[in-house]
């Protein structure tokens, strides 16, 4: 269950290496120190998954990273993550909206064909999006009903949102995989993506190059995906040379690999936000002065060093740190014990009580983050008891209810993603009970604004309110850590699920 949720949200994030390099040349993939790209070779890549939860349906809720990797190689989503802008084209070569930001038209890339030779048509895409809307709900296709997804001619589809939604292309990144209309047997894996499925066995797959891919044939001959039940066994496999890439293997393996000359550590910044949620609507943290005191209590560099083993960066109580509109002019909040104590005194906060901070073993370092924070908060006179809950129990008993708990999120490249999912007063996942008229106004403005100055202004207003009176302590951002053999070039470098875009990877000899 934990993975379902994390995977779902992280899936909004990532990058297409080819498009990022071609469009921006921003170095968002590992540098080509191996010389000029070479064709050929088989990439053996490991990814985490549970063999009891393998999934073959590209529209189902996937809980295995390994399944998601396989799907992303076989199927093309409409859009994929990028750096700036944070949405890049994939199956949709371009998109445009009406002035109201309500009706969005996506044009299918020229030359897009399924692996069986049929061209990808508007009917296929409409069928796939409608199926996804039915199977997975509004979270993945944010329109009110399947009737809001319609073909326009032979090679375009139009999506009609219930209200202005400037974020639709972003919300359709990854996940919106297109399959031929009427597909019932997904085990053949007929998609239009850069690799074709050759064989599949219990979560492991071998894929071969699709020479006809509309984005240009990949360089690798084949990709072999191996499912690993634990990061530890995956780390052993990369150390022993049995795989070429260990995807999202974690800080411990990263540390070990740093010492090895035959391995490279790929750090993907802004991979996961592990944050502390304080309830703003009622309870002990309802007073904004108390929340500011807690934010001033945290020693952010120490948290990054101790919780993330240094694989991360300090953050500033604003979610969406990798957003192109992220406001770096807001002063970095630093530890200030005296001011924090003063604020608690001003707010007449009861320091005689002990406050439970509920956490769970979910993201790497999540429980540790609660413990380290609890020890730091002692310095301002706040007594915290860290309560570790089983993840299932956490989502039933604590999430959205308790006044004080830890959460973790992907998709850190979008301020609007967090505004819509957890902070707008209408969202069903308002983790901090945040209801703020000014915030809602800025959010509505941003939804109605096309990309540009007006949108940036609204985004900055959203960020300023979070910084001033939001309910989250965003102390840092964890890096995603992949370990790869030195011969692997062109691996994606963006956080979250951007790591699945392997079409421009190549092997140097």
């Amino acid at each position: 269950m934990d993975l379902n949720r994390r995977q779902l949200f992280k899936a909004g994030l990532g990058l297409s290496a080819i498009l990022a390099i071609a469009a921006c040349g921003d170095g968002s993939s590992s540098d080509g120190s191996g010389g000029s790209p070479q064709r050929g070779g088989t990439l053996r890549i490991g990814a985490i998954g549970k063999s009891s939860k393998t999934e073959r349906d590209p529209h189902a809720t996937m809980s295995n990273e390994s399944d998601f990797l396989i799907m992303s190689l076989i199927y093309d989503p409409l859009t994929v993550p990028g750096t700036d802008p944070n949405v890049a084209p994939r199956l949709a070569s371009k998109w445009e909206s009406d002035a109201e930001q309500r009706n969005w038209t996506f044009t299918i890339a020229e030359g897009a064909t399924f692996h069986d030779g049929r061209p990808v048509t508007a009917d296929d895409v409409v069928w796939s999006l409608r199926r996804l809307r039915e199977v997975a709900g509004e979270t993945k296709v944010p329109v009110s009903s399947v009737d809001d997804i319609k073909p326009v001619g032979a090679n375009a589809v139009v999506l009609t949102c219930a209200g202005p939604n400037s974020q639709l292309p972003l919300l359709l990144r990854l996940m919106t995989f297109a399959a031929p209309k009427g597909t019932t047997d997904f085990t053949k894996g007929i998609g239009s993506g850069p690799f074709r499925l050759e064989s599949y066995n219990n979560g492991n797959a071998r894929l071969v190059r699709n020479d006809n891919w509309h984005g240009g044939a990949p360089l690798l001959d084949a990709v072999e995906v191996t499912l690993f039940e634990s990061p530890e066994s995956m780390a052993n496999a990369i150390m022993a040379g049995q795989i070429d890439v260990a995807s999202s293997v974690g800080a411990v393996a990263g540390r070990t690999a740093e010492a090895r000359s035959d391995l490279q550590v790929i750090r993907r910044p802004n991979d996961v936000a592990i944050v502390i949620a304080m309830r703003t609507s009622d309870g002990p943290f309802a007073d904004p002065r108390v929340r500011e005191a807690l934010r001033l209590a945290v020693d952010r560099p120490a948290m990054v060093a101790q919780v993330l083993s240094g694989y991360g960066s300090v953050a500033n109580d604003i979610l969406g740190t990798a957003d192109p509109t992220f406001d770096s002019s807001i002063a970095q909040r630093k530890r200030n014990v005296d001011r924090a104590k003063q604020l608690l005194a001003d707010a007449k906060f009861d320091t005689g009580r002990t406050y439970p901070l509920v956490t769970k073993q979910e993201a790497a370092g999540e429980v540790e983050s609660a413990k380290v924070f609890a020890s730091q908060a002692k310095d301002i006179g706040l007594n915290i008891e860290v309560v570790v809950q089983e993840a299932n129990a956490f989502y039933d008993d604590t999430w959205l209810k308790a006044p004080f708990y830890t959460v973790n999120w992907g998709t850190n490249d979008s301020v609007m993603f967090f505004a819509s999912k957890v902070m707008s007063s209408r969202t069903k996942w308002n983790e901090t009970g945040f209801k703020d008229a000014e915030f809602d106004k800025a959010y509505a403005d941003a939804l109605a604004a096309p990309a540009g100055a007006k949108f940036t202004e609204a985004s900055k207003a959203i960020q300023q309110i979070q910084y001033d009176r939001g309910g989250y302590i965003v102390w840092g951002m964890a890096d995603g850590i992949d370990v790869a053999s030195r011969s692997v070039q062109g691996l994606p470098k963006l956080g979250g699920y951007g790591r699945v875009q392997l079409e421009r990877v190549w092997l140097s000899s």
């Binding site: 269950m1 779902l8 039940e229 995956m234 052993n236 022993a240 996942w429």
Partner: protein, 309 residues
């Protein structure tokens, strides 16, 4: 024969009781399979529909009976994700059985050899090594043994693969991939069983008929094989049979460390998913296997004790 039938009935009753306990325990865990499968974004209506589909809205005894009556005919039902449990078991159980069998074979051979040698030369060099080393390997859990083996034989010496890859049949791609998982399982078991074999042999050797055989001037080997070993066999067989259960338990841990394609990880995943049908099916399969081995041990004991009453 009647005694044997009674034994089978008792063992079967125990297995059924165990399966009922599995149902109750998984039911007591917080969270449910419907939400685990649908994820966070599912509304109450979709969760209720899924619960109905999975039969979770029915009383626990009814669910147990539905599952059990299917299982009795060889149909273990479907997982919460709609996969056939039989197919999953067919894909994973033989691999675990292979791993556990090879490990068991290794345990039997090593323990018999070590135990025999040790009891025959109780003060020799081997005995002095065996005494502390067997105690050590018993005390160290499988996952520590496994981790050390990977460290030494894969990462330092680069002799053996660190993890298991499967070929298209779903079995380990090469036999050498079995070596470390088998060793990780067999080493702690061999430590324990060597001590049991030695103890049983020494006890048996103290019996009066052995003494008379020695006094009759029979060769040492004949005494050992004809007079001591049969007498010690019931104890040894029981100990080996008990090891089977421990081996299965250890296999679940060892499989995760070596990414071995067996049932271990499936059990962990199905418990966190509250997937009762799958958990119970795995318990039924391993339980039945262990039951058969225990029956075999009973048979050996009965045979060794024949005519002794």
């Amino acid at each position: 024969m009647i005694a044997l039938t009674g034994l089978v009935v008792r063992r079967l009753g125990l297995l059924i009781a165990l399966l009922a306990v599995v149902f109750v325990v998984v039911d007591l865990l917080p969270g449910n399979a419907a939400r685990a499968v649908l994820g966070r974004d599912a509304g109450a209506d979709r969760i209720a529909a899924k619960e109905h589909e999975l039969g979770l809205d029915r009383p626990l005894p009814v669910r147990f009976w539905n599952w059990f009556s299917g299982a009795a005919t060889g149909d273990f039902g479907t997982t919460a994700r709609g996969q056939s449990v039989n197919e999953l078991l067919a894909a994973k159980f033989p691999q675990t059985l292979l791993l556990a069998s090879v490990a068991m074979l290794a345990t039997v051979v090593i323990s018999l050899l070590c135990g025999l040698w040790w009891s025959a030369r109780p003060t020799g060099f081997t005995a002095r090594v065996m005494q502390p080393s067997s105690a050590f390997v018993i005390a160290v859990p499988e996952f520590v043994v496994a981790t050390l083996l990977v460290l030494v034989f894969s990462l330092w010496l680069d002799w053996l693969p660190a993890v298991t890859f499967t070929d298209r049949s779903g079995y380990p791609a090469s036999p050498e991939m079995l070596i470390l998982p088998v060793a990780a399982l067999a080493i702690p078991q061999a430590g324990w069983n060597s001590r049991v074999v030695r103890g049983a042999l020494i006890d048996a050797a103290a019996a009066p008929h052995v003494e008379s055989a020695v006094l009759n001037g029979l060769p040492e080997r004949t005494v050992l094989l004809r007079h001591v070993l049969p007498f010690a066999l019931p104890t040894i067989a029981t100990s080996f049979a008990t090891s089977v259960g421990t081996l299965f338990g250890g296999a679940l841990v060892v499989e995760t460390i070596f990414n071995y394609p067996g049932m271990g990880a499936m059990v962990a995943g199905s418990v966190s998913d509250r997937d009762t049908a799958l958990v119970a099916a795995v318990v039924a399969m391993t339980g039945t296997t262990i039951m058969c081995v225990l029956l075999l041990a009973d048979a050996i004991r009965a045979w060794a004790n024949r005519g002794r009453r």
